[in-house]
């Protein structure tokens, strides 16, 4: 259960897009790891950064805050940031926070790579 398993990053397989895949719960004890990962990926100024939430069971406002911050940096750096794969419970929290229109949200990684 080391932090090594919390977020995986794939810089290759997806047509120049960097794929960031957090795992499990993105809560107060774990969102800092996602935050650091997004930060490091963005430092490389990719054209596109896809955050695949398919393996995220749960997210709280610390996770949302992390994504909002990344989205703002992405806009500044002209990186296209896309979210995909979220389940109903995770989608509900985006809606409660009225953030579902702030992000580009699609269903699958395939769509996210081309959205």
């Amino acid at each position: 259960m080391g932090d090594t398993e919390i977020v995986s990053v794939n810089t290759e397989a997806h047509q120049g897009a960097v794929l960031v895949s957090p795992q499990g719960d993105v809560d107060m004890s774990r969102s800092p790891v996602l935050r650091q990962t997004l930060h490091d990926v963005q430092a490389r100024k990719p054209q596109r950064m896809v955050v695949d939430l398919a393996n995220v069971d749960y997210m709280d406002s610390s996770g949302l805050a992390t994504l909002v911050e990344a989205m703002r940096s992405a806009k500044k750096a002209d990186t296209k940031m896309v979210l995909c794969g979220m389940n109903d419970k995770v989608r509900a929290i985006f809606e409660i926070a009225r953030l579902h229109h702030f992000f580009t949200i699609v269903d699958s990684v395939d769509e996210a790579v081309s959205a």
Partner: protein
């Protein structure tokens, strides 16, 4: 300002340390109990989210991220004629008391990181009341959510015993 014991003894009371590694356990407990009290899966996860946000706020704002301070979560079924009609949850701490007016979510029109917790709590629950605890130290947040449809009467007080005792010749 009704102290929680105006609702009788809690059915479940948890004391946990203010360490974020225990948040997931608290969420699962609360979500699972809500399920047995008649909430559907999505509502259970929203209730768990509200409790998680409240606990995070205690850890961050109340205790300045100290890992070893106590937090109490109390749970009561909201009952009416023996049927479960919802859930009542109190979250208490021993932190410095602040004016309940200060517990304000920000407007969501301005999109920025942070400042979402209180908004989420109020959006998800039917009631969310902050108050100073009796005795000069610590805050209490009381959360109430009504179940979408009541469970059948007796689920809390009788059904369990009915179910467990009835019909079995053995294992009595």
């Amino acid at each position: 300002m009704t102290p929680p014991n105006a609702h009788g003894r809690p059915h479940i009371r948890v004391e946990l340390l203010s360490n974020p590694i225990y948040l997931s356990g608290a969420r699962e407990l609360v979500g699972t109990v809500a399920k047995r009290l008649g909430f559907d899966d999505l509502d259970c996860s929203k209730i768990a989210l509200a409790v998680d946000e409240a606990l995070c706020n205690v850890i961050r704002h109340g205790y300045g991220r100290a890992l070893d301070r106590p937090i109490w979560i109390s749970i009561w079924p909201v009952e009416h004629d023996g049927a479960a009609e919802g859930i009542r949850i109190a979250i208490e701490d021993e932190a410095k008391q602040v004016d309940p007016e200060q517990m304000q979510g920000r407007a969501l029109t301005d999109i920025k990181p942070g400042g979402l917790g209180v908004h989420i709590i109020r959006e998800v629950m039917d009631e969310a009341t902050y108050e100073k605890r009796e005795g000069g130290v610590g805050m209490r947040l009381t959360l109430v959510k009504k179940a979408p449809r009541p469970t059948e009467p007796g689920v809390i007080t009788e059904a369990a015993s009915r179910a467990v005792q009835s019909t079995r010749p053995q294992a009595r």
